[in-house]
Symmetry: C2
Subunit: 418 residues, 2 copies
C-alpha cells in the first residue's frame, strides 16, 4: 500500500503559505507504516489538478488531496475528482444539513453557494469528522486493471485536516493495507540519545519483535523534537490493541529509562508544565542567547500553560547588569546562568527558575569554550544545578537545542531522575 499526497492551492506555489500540511501527513503515513513516495503541489487549475490525480492513480494505491474544498469557484477539487472517476456530482443531504446547522448556530443564513460544499461525486462517502464547513470525502476508484484504489479529499485548514486524517483516513488506509484487524500506534518521544544509540539499547527487543511481528517498532528522527519510537500493534479489537501497546510501552520504558519524555502529541514543554501544574508550582525563565525562544515555546505549549508565570529576555547591558547585580562582563557565563535562574524565581514570582547563557559570538569562543558552548541552569527549593553543554550547528540550532536541553534537565529532576 502506498499513498501519495497532492496539495492544491496557487498560494502554495507562490510561497505565500508554507505547505506544512504535506509534511504532517507524510509523518503520519510513516508512523502508520504506509509508504509515501511522492508529494506534489499544484495550483487551482483544472487541467493541472486533473493531470496530477490521473498520474497519482497510475503509480499509487491511494491519494490524499489536501485543499480546494471551500465554497468558492476557485475550489474545484470535488469537481476534478468527479470528472476523473467519471461520476456525477450529487447533493449529499447529510452534509447539506451539517452546513446549514453550522451557519444557524452562528446566527447567520447560509449563502446558497455554500451548498457547493455538499456536492459529492456519486459513490463517495463523506468523512464523519467535520470540524469546519468543508466536508472531507472518501472516493473509491476502480482502476482499469480492476484494482480498488481510493482518493481522500481533506480541507487545507490544518486542524480540520488533522482531525479527518487521524479519525478516518489513517485507519481506513491501514484497513485497506490488507489488515482487517484493528491497528493502532503509540509514539514514545525520546531526548538524549542518537538514533543509533536507541537502536543499540533496543537491539535485543527489536530482534524478538521481528520474529513475532506484532507489535512492530520504528524510529523517526525529528530534530529539536527528539527521536520518536513508534509502537504499532494489531489485534481483533481496540481494547486488545491497547493491552499490547500498554505492555510494550512498559517494556520499552524499562529499556529506555529517562530518555522517554512524552507520549504521542505531548511535547517537552507540555510535559514539564504538566508536572509543575500537578504540583501547584509555577515556572519562570530568564533568557539571553535564546532570545525569547524558550518563553515563546512555554507560552504557547499545547497544555499546562497555567504553570507558566513568564519570561524575561535580557539582551541589553542595562537589563543584564540589573539582573546580575553588577557588570555582566565580570561574571563567568556559568555563574551568570545560575544567578539568572535564581533571580527568575523572584522577579517572575515563581517557584522554579530556569536560565541559559551561551557563547553566541564566534569571536568570543576559546578552545575550551568554543562557539556553541551553553550553560543550562535550574533553581528551585532544595535543588540547584548548572550544566555545560556543547551544541553543534548555527545560532538558530544552538538556540533550539539549548531550549530543549534545559527543559529536559528540569524534567529529569522533577521525575526524580537527577
Amino acid at each position: 500500500m502506498n499513498c501519495e499526497v497532492i496539495a492544491v492551492g496557487t498560494e502554495l506555489l507562490l510561497g505565500q503559505i508554507v505547505d506544512t500540511n504535506s509534511s504532517w501527513i507524510g509523518e503520519q503515513l510513516a508512523l502508520a507504516g504506509i509508504d509515501s513516495h511522492y508529494q506534489t503541489k499544484v495550483g487551482d487549475n483544472w487541467s493541472r489538478i486533473e493531470e496530477a490525480v490521473r498520474q497519482g492513480l497510475e503509480r499509487s494505491d491511494a491519494l490524499i488531496m489536501c485543499g480546494g474544498l471551500g465554497p468558492t469557484q476557485d475550489d474545484i477539487t470535488r469537481d476534478v475528482i468527479a470528472s476523473v472517476v467519471g461520476s456525477e456530482l450529487v447533493l449529499d443531504e447529510t452534509i447539506a444539513q451539517r452546513i446549514r446547522a453550522m451557519f444557524k448556530s452562528r446566527g447567520r443564513d447560509m449563502p446558497e453557494n455554500n451548498l457547493r460544499q455538499a456536492m459529492v461525486p456519486e459513490g463517495a462517502r463523506p468523512i464523519p469528522q467535520q470540524p469546519g464547513t468543508a466536508p472531507g470525502l472518501i472516493v473509491p476508484v476502480s482502476s482499469d486493471s480492476g484494482q480498488q484504489k481510493v482518493i481522500y479529499a481533506v480541507p487545507g485548514v490544518p486542524y480540520e485536516m488533522k482531525e479527518m486524517m487521524s479519525g478516518t483516513v489513517i485507519p481506513d488506509l491501514q484497513q485497506r493495507a490488507g489488515l482487517s484487524s484493528v491497528i493502532e500506534s503509540r509514539v514514545l518521544r525520546t531526548w538524549g540519545q542518537s538514533e543509533s544509540g536507541l537502536a543499540e539499547l533496543l537491539g535485543t527487543r527489536i530482534n524478538e519483535l521481528e520474529t513475532s511481528g506484532n507489535p512492530t517498532l520504528a524510529f523517526l528522527a525529528s530534530g529539536v523534537e527528539g527521536i520518536k519510537v513508534r509502537i504499532t500493534a494489531k489485534a481483533a479489537t481496540s481494547s486488545e490493541v491497547a493491552l499490547i501497546l500498554d505492555s510494550e510501552e512498559e517494556h520499552l520504558r524499562q529499556l529506555l529509562g529517562d530518555l522517554v519524555f512524552a507520549v504521542d502529541e505531548h511535547n517537552m514543554e507540555s510535559t514539564v508544565l504538566g508536572i509543575l501544574a500537578e504540583r501547584g508550582l509555577r515556572l519562570g525563565v530568564i533568557e539571553t542567547t535564546t532570545a525569547g525562544f524558550i518563553t515563546h515555546r512555554l507560552g504557547t505549549a499545547p497544555s499546562g500553560t497555567q504553570a507558566f508565570s513568564g519570561g524575561v529576555t535580557a539582551r541589553g547591558p542595562g537589563i543584564l547588569s540589573y539582573l546580575l547585580r553588577g557588570d555582566p562582563a565580570a561574571v563567568q557565563p556559568e555563574e551568570a546562568a545560575l544567578q539568572l535562574a535564581r533571580v527568575a524565581r523572584g522577579i517572575l514570582v515563581s517557584d522554579v527558575g530556569l536560565a541559559t547563557t551561551a557563547i553566541e559570538d564566534p569571536s568570543q569562543g576559546t578552545e575550551d569554550q568554543p562557539f556553541g558552548t551553553a550553560w543550562l541552569a535550574v533553581s528551585m527549593e532544595g535543588f540547584e544545578t548548572v550544566e555545560q553543554v556543547k551544541l553543534p550547528g548555527d545560532l538558530e540550532r544552538i538556540r533550539q537545542f539549548s531550549a530543549i536541553s534545559l527543559l529536559n534537565l528540569l524534567r529529569l529532576h522533577l521525575e526524580g531522575r537527577r
Copy 2:
C-alpha cells in the same frame, strides 16, 4: 517560460523536515515574473527522481532540483541528471580545487568521497556561488523537439541554495525568458492596506506602466510579512536598471506614503530596530497574549538587534500584579497596555517601551470587545499612545498580527508620520 521545482530527500516525505525551500523558491520565481505550475517532493530513490525529472522536462521549460548534492552514496541528484540528459560524469577541476581549499582552510584533509561532489555531467557549468562544499550546476538540455531547456541543481542547505538562486538561477532564467538585457527587481514591503486597496492607490500608475512595459509592477500577499510590491526593470546595463528602480521607487513611495516600511530582505523588526539604533535608543517590550512572539522576533531580527534591550512575557497573575502595581483583574486591558509600556522602559532599562494586551479567551469577549480585540501601546519621551484593533483568525494569527501592528505603530511615530 515556466519552471518547476523538484525537492529531493526522503526526510522531506517523512515530514522530518518541512520543505520551506520550495516555498521560498516559489516566491522568488513569482517575484521574478516566471511561472511555476508544479512543485514535487521525491525521496532519495533513483527511479523516482528520474521519473520526476523526465516528466518535468516534458511539461516545463526549466527545472530547479533542490537537494541530493552532498558527498554520500545517498546523494544521487548529479548522477540521475547525467543519466537523463545522456552525459558522462566528469571531474570538474575548478570545483575539486574549491572543495580541497575549503577543507584545508579548516585544517582538515579532504576525504576522497568528497570528490564525488566535483563530478558534473559533461556540458554542465558550475554555479559561481558556492558558500558550502556542495556545488550548484546549470545543465543545458536539448529536448527531442530541439527546444533548449535547462536543469539547475542547488543544495538543500537553505543559505547555500538562496545564494545560488539569487546570484545565478533567477538572473539566468530571466535571460532565457528571452530577455538579453539586465533585469533586476526591488521589493517594497507594505503594511496597512489590502491587496485591492494597494491596486486602487496604484491604479493610474499600473495603467501607465502597462503601456510602457518597463518597469513592471506585481503584488505578492505574504501574510504577517505584509504585501510586497515588486518593481522589475530592464536595461542594457546594471547601472541603468538601478536608475529606473530608484526613480520608480520614489514615485511609488509618493503614492503609497507611510504604507512602505522596508525594501527587499528587511523586515518590520529590522526596520524599527535600525531607526532606533541610529538614534542611540533602546527598546524594551512587555508581552501578555503574544507570549514571547514579539521578543523572539526582535531578538532574532536580521539587523539592528543592538537596539533591543529585552522583553518580559507576563502570563502568571503574580508577575502581572507586580508589573501593574495592583490586581490585574481590576485594570481595563487598554489601561493595562499603556501601563506595561511605561513599566517596560524602567525595568528593561530602555528609552522606548512597547506592550500589548488582548481578549484571548473567547469566553471573556463582549459584543464591543470580542475575541481578537487587542491593544497596542507605545511609551517614549514626548510620546505615548494606545490603540485598539480588532484582529481576525485564531489565537496564533492574533499573536502574529498584534506583533506586527504594534511594531508598525512605533515605526510610524519614529518616521514622524503619527
